[in-house]
Amino acid sequence: MAIDAARLKSGGTGQSPFLSTAMFAPAVLYILLLVGGPFLLAIFYAFSDARIGNAELHFVGLENFRSILESPSFRVAIRNSLVFTIGSQIVVVVSANILAIALETAFRGRGIVRFLILLPWVAPISLGAIGWKWILDSIYSVISWTLVALHFIKPFSAPMWLGEPHLAIASVLLVHSWRIIPFSTVILLAGRTAIPKDIPEAAAVDGAGFWRTQFQIVIPMMRPILSVAVLFGLIFTFTDMTVVYILTAGGPFDSTQTLPSLAFALGIQGSDLAAGAAISLFLVPLLVILAYFMLRIARRAEVS
């Protein structure tokens, strides 16, 4: 019995290195081979002259980075990536907080409302984006029709939502927001439900109004979960190329190109693997920063 207990204790505290290694090795090996390997290959390509259909490969040093940094379309892409990512996240944080407050108390039909609100996030994004392409159509746009019907604009003078650079940038930004709002809302809602009810109630008894309770008590208490929502929102938007690819394919005149969509245009469609790989590597610095903050949240959870 004593031996049994000792054996169990050692098993329970993690002393079975062989079994545990055998159980996680396949997954770790797969990830090393198909995430780690390709990541190193991307770095390698970025310093080479790799092209599709070209068997020989030469080391070219920083040449790819030099020519990328000089190209105007790259500068537009990096600016757009930041504008879309940060701009849409501002819209998302404001909207998702409002929505989470409105959804917090139970009411009849909340399940249906939640289902409808979640649709942009759960439907495949390429299909949601196609829906928007039709709504923003150059001729048959329902938005243009409504604006004409309300006499805001004259018939046949409707703006080309996806055909003029500034409008196209605004459209892509709003479609990104549209997609992430549901995700942030449900995360924030989970955070709100986790706050003990008596805390905001006590604040109300002490005479704090709605805004004071929200801004000085509830939202500060939700800081970790708000950070989680924002970090994931930033990552999902920053690394996405589907919305841009479907809505504008980077146009008009490369004005809505982002880092991922430009990497695709040059690296795959243009066969220039080296340039595509070099451009996509510019995603890494921001991802590292975001991952660092993610780790801080995870570590804090581990300590407490």
Binding site: L8, M23, L34, A42, I98, L99, R114, I246, V284
Partner: protein, 282 residues
């Protein structure tokens, strides 16, 4: 008292207004897909028509076109096939790994778990260029097997993370008791932990499947022929001929492909949220 009552009423009115505005804005594209799917072309493409109403009789022509003149059904089949195989691979890799990291490897396992979760943050848009060469090297261009090979790169890390949280919530005493009764550690995992964890494993099945249906970048990069497309790429790319958009059929396809995914997702939403908020909610 009157003041209290009116402020309560105001509260409800504001809440209802906020919810209505956001619900309409967020769900509008899907409402628009429904309307468009059932409108005749002559109705869709007459600018004077009020687009919110049916100005001509509703029609099933677009649906008929979608199911008989396009490869839509084939794409649904491809997506289901890839989804099922990727689910199987993901379970095979993620369930034992998550158990080992949650139970056996101690603090070190915790670290490795976080490291694996971080690989979930490495996006397809960073890996698709080198992976396109890996796929070409293996002779898998334009094959669904290319997607089956690559999709676990994002389904496995997320699943391990979800399952680690799930396994940790099961009391250790259960396994200890089973091992006193003569089961080995691995036996306890197979015969005890897996059956108890059915709902966690089902969550992984659903999310792996939905992640597969939502993926776009790899399918766009690796698959070229019309008959090998997934729904996410086939609909936006191959339902357009030249510059002609078949909007009726396109919207019907988007709707049919989106709704089942949305329903499944909703059923398991709470577990999905738990996966993202581990550590941030106490």
């Amino acid at each position: 008292m009157a003041l209290k009552f009116s402020s309560l009423l105001l509260d409800r009115v504001v809440r209802a207004t906020v919810l209505t505005v956001f619900t309409v804005l967020l769900a509008f594209p899907f409402y628009w897909m429904i309307i468009t799917s059932f409108k005749q072309n002559v109705d869709l493409y007459t600018m004077e028509n009020n687009p919110f109403l049916f100005n001509a009789k509703p029609t099933l022509d677009h649906l008929k076109f979608l199911f008989t003149e396009t490869r839509f059904v084939r794409w649904l089949g491809n997506t289901a096939f890839v989804g099922v195989v990727v689910v199987a691979i993901t379970l095979f890799l993620a369930v034992p790994a998550a158990y080992a990291l949650a139970r056996l490897a101690g603090r070190w396992g915790e670290r490795l778990g976080i490291a694996i979760f971080l690989t979930y943050l490495v996006p397809p848009t960073l890996l698709f260029i080198p992976l396109s060469r890996v796929v070409a090297f293996l002779g898998l261009q334009d094959s669904l097997w290319a997607l089956i090979l690559v999709y676990p790169t994002f389904t496995v890390p997320f699943s391990i993370w979800l399952l680690m949280g799930f396994f940790k919530s099961i009391p250790r005493e259960l396994e200890d008791a089973a091992m006193v009764d003569g089961l080995t550690r691995f036996g306890a995992f197979l015969k005890l932990m897996i059956p108890i964890s059915t709902s966690g494993i089902l969550t992984v099945v659903i999310f792996t499947f939905t992640l597969v249906t939502q993926e776009f970048v790899y399918a766009l990069t690796f698959i070229s022929s019309e008959s090998n497309q997934m729904i996410g790429t086939g609909i936006p790319i191959f339902l357009v001929r030249g510059d002609v958009y078949y909007w009726g059929a396109l919207m019907a396809a988007c709707l049919i492909a989106s709704l089942p995914v949305a329903f499944l997702y909703n059923l398991f939403l709470d577990r999905f949220i738990a996966g993202f908020t581990v550590g941030a909610v106490k």
